[in-house]
């Protein structure tokens, strides 16, 4: 924002409103001007429990754990889920752990400052909950070898930097099974955020889930280019409904897609958190992430000194992913199938990404009974058969 101000408050103002208007347009097109929670909101330091003024002797004090969030804790989606887990973990280690968090930390240079500040304040376990903190965390981690760092959704590790992520695609697959049993038009719609492997994997898994019910189901995809822009998410959802999709899913952060389906009398899902109250009639189920088991593990590791670097990817099996609040409209047989699938994922008897799986062009990606390795899933850059449209910036 300061940049905009500097440019605009010049001693000589444009006489012609046109130039101002152009400036306004340029501003409208630029996410930085429109106060996105992720980009330029001022980070507010807030402590969950009031910090005592005098530092207690280190040995006697509780383990200090800090969390850096990219959005506001009230976003009803991603950051909300992290904060819920933080509270749960703190309660589980009552007295032994003290947590604090900073919300709205931009994925830029500011992140490094905030994380350094957390170290300064004596935190010895620090969680960064968005992809964009990767480089800043790597930098701060190398300067502070005694502090443990945990980075969500990243892929770079260090001796004291561990990565963790959730297999959100398992939730997407389960949602797909529900969608497959509910669609009449055999056309599903997904509102996508940004075409990165995680989102593509979710679209593919959602489609595979639906096709497990009825193989001729098609999925249409509309990208909005943002994680969080409710009016646009709603419009994208409307475009999908207009084209005949009758069950929607989204990989964006707000509940706008669900609300649009509610208005139109169609169906949709909640994502990241239980969103049933945002569209009581349209809501079929919510694919949720539960970070609490992992946060408890991280804290436990740090407490008993067994903390080691690795790349953790937890799913249904570890209690990190679930499909909850399944609507009464969903047939009992489907509900039973979901339970069965969850059980299968837990005991390892069921694998989602198991061949034969073909890509959009019909090329076989996985041969019959071949299971996908995590490496393939992590870098996935193709749509499976049944997803319509060309993958943006794809090969």
């Amino acid at each position: 924002m300061p940049r905009l101000l500097d440019r605009t408050i010049l001693p000589t103002f444009p006489e012609n409103a046109l130039s101002v208007t152009l400036l306004a347009l340029a501003c409208a097109a630029q996410p930085a001007c429109s106060k996105k929670p992720s980009s330029d909101a001022v980070p507010a330091l807030s402590s969950a429990t009031p910090a005592p003024l005098a530092a207690e002797p280190k040995a006697a004090g509780p383990l200090k754990v800090a969390f850096a969030y990219v959005g506001p804790v009230g976003d009803a989606g991603w950051t909300y889920a992290h904060d819920k887990a933080r509270k749960e973990a703190e309660a589980a280690f009552a007295g032994k752990v003290k947590t604090s968090f900073v919300e709205n930390v931009p994925e830029a240079a500011d992140a490094e400052r905030v994380i350094r500040d957390m170290v300064e304040q004596g935190n010895t376990l620090i969680f960064g909950t968005t992809f964009g903190y990767m480089e800043p965390m790597l930098k701060v981690a190398s300067d502070n070898p005694k502090v443990h760092f945990e980075h969500a959704t990243g892929y770079k590790t260090a001796v004291n930097l561990r990565t963790y992520d959730s297999r959100t695609y398992e939730g997407a697959y389960l949602a797909g099974v529900v969608a497959g049993s509910m669609t009449k038009s055999k056309t599903l719609g997904v509102v996508g955020s940004i075409p990165i492997p995680e989102v593509i994997r979710n679209i593919d898994s959602f489609t595979l889930g639906a096709q497990s019910v009825s193989p001729d189901i098609k999925t249409k995809v509309v990208w909005v280019g943002k994680w969080f822009d409710p009016p646009k998410e709603g419009e994208a959802a409307q475009a999908l409904l207009d084209q005949g999709a009758d069950v929607l899913m989204q990989n964006t952060d707000s509940s706008a897609v669900l609300q649009t389906a509610e208005k139109a009398g169609k169906f949709a899902f909640g994502w990241d958190s239980d969103m049933s109250k945002f569209g009581p009639h349209a809501h079929l189920a919510s694919a949720v992430i539960n970070w609490a088991p992992y946060y408890k593990k991280g804290i436990q590791d740090a407490l008993d000194g067994s903390w080691k670097t690795s790349q953790v990817w937890w799913g249904v099996k570890d209690g990190a992913i679930d499909l909850v609040a399944i609507s009464d409209k969903v047939p009992a047989a489907t509900k039973a199938k979901i339970d069965e699938l969850k059980k299968g994922l837990k005991d390892g008897s069921f694998t989602i990404w198991k061949g034969p799986i073909k890509d959009q062009a019909g090329k076989e990606v996985l041969k019959a009974d071949e299971k996908a390795e995590d490496k393939l899933l992590l870098g996935i850059n193709f749509y499976v058969k049944g997803v319509e449209g060309k993958l943006p910036s794809g090969k």
Partner: protein
Amino acid sequence: MNELLLLLGSSIDSGTPLLLAALGLIINERSGVINLGAEGLMLIAAITGFATALATKNDALALLAGAGAAAVFAALLGLLVIWLNANQYATGLALSLFGSGFSAFVGIRYTQESLAVASHHGPYSHHYLVYVAVLLTLGLSWFLFRAKAGLVLRAVGESPEAAQALGYPVRLIRLAAVVTGGALVGLAGAYVSVVSTPLWVEGMIAGKGWIALALTTFATWRPARALLGAYLFGGVTMLQLNLQGRGVNLPVELLTALPYLATIFVLVLISKNPRWIAANMPTSLGKPFYPGA
């Protein structure tokens, strides 16, 4: 054919908040005062409207409350720039920044809330505000170019000195225009959080205020052209989303930029003809007025 009609319908829905805000800004700017705070006003109205709807379960009241809140803040801008002659551009920008921060602050406790969403009666039905916006466009056209009061408003925007010499209270007329304009901008903001996507999230206006400002100029301060512009912008927005759903092989980034590109393109076309602008632009727009001088 059916899909084309649906596309038209959703384009109009998408363009309505822009139209309402642009109409407000036309009233505002016709009086010679530019309000760069539109984005902030819309955000303030959005959170006010949402909070009211949540408390009263009454959409009409919520829309009015949003309009009212924006009118109050617009009046504040009016006092600063009309009486104290503060720089209109700087003050407007300040209001915009204030509005985003203030609405985010007030809205913290509303982010988990949701309104009951009313179901449409059919695919072709629209919220009544969509029709109200069209009527307002016609009404404003009539007011500006057929009514005496509209002539006075334009006179104040063209030459405040002359209007004053004729005995009109320039400052009060400008304040009235700023407050009325602010209320319409607020109505647009409340429409977004109460009708389009009935929820509150920080920064949810996502640049619509800035686009409305651009539209005002693009429409050369004429209501009917603002309507065309708003529907065009809404149409291109919906069209690009539809094209994606159809699997058209164009980069998403380009498609997302399309509404802006289209608007800039038209803007450039219009500004190529200086007479169009000159004939319609309020001459004193953005300039301070000192009644004593």
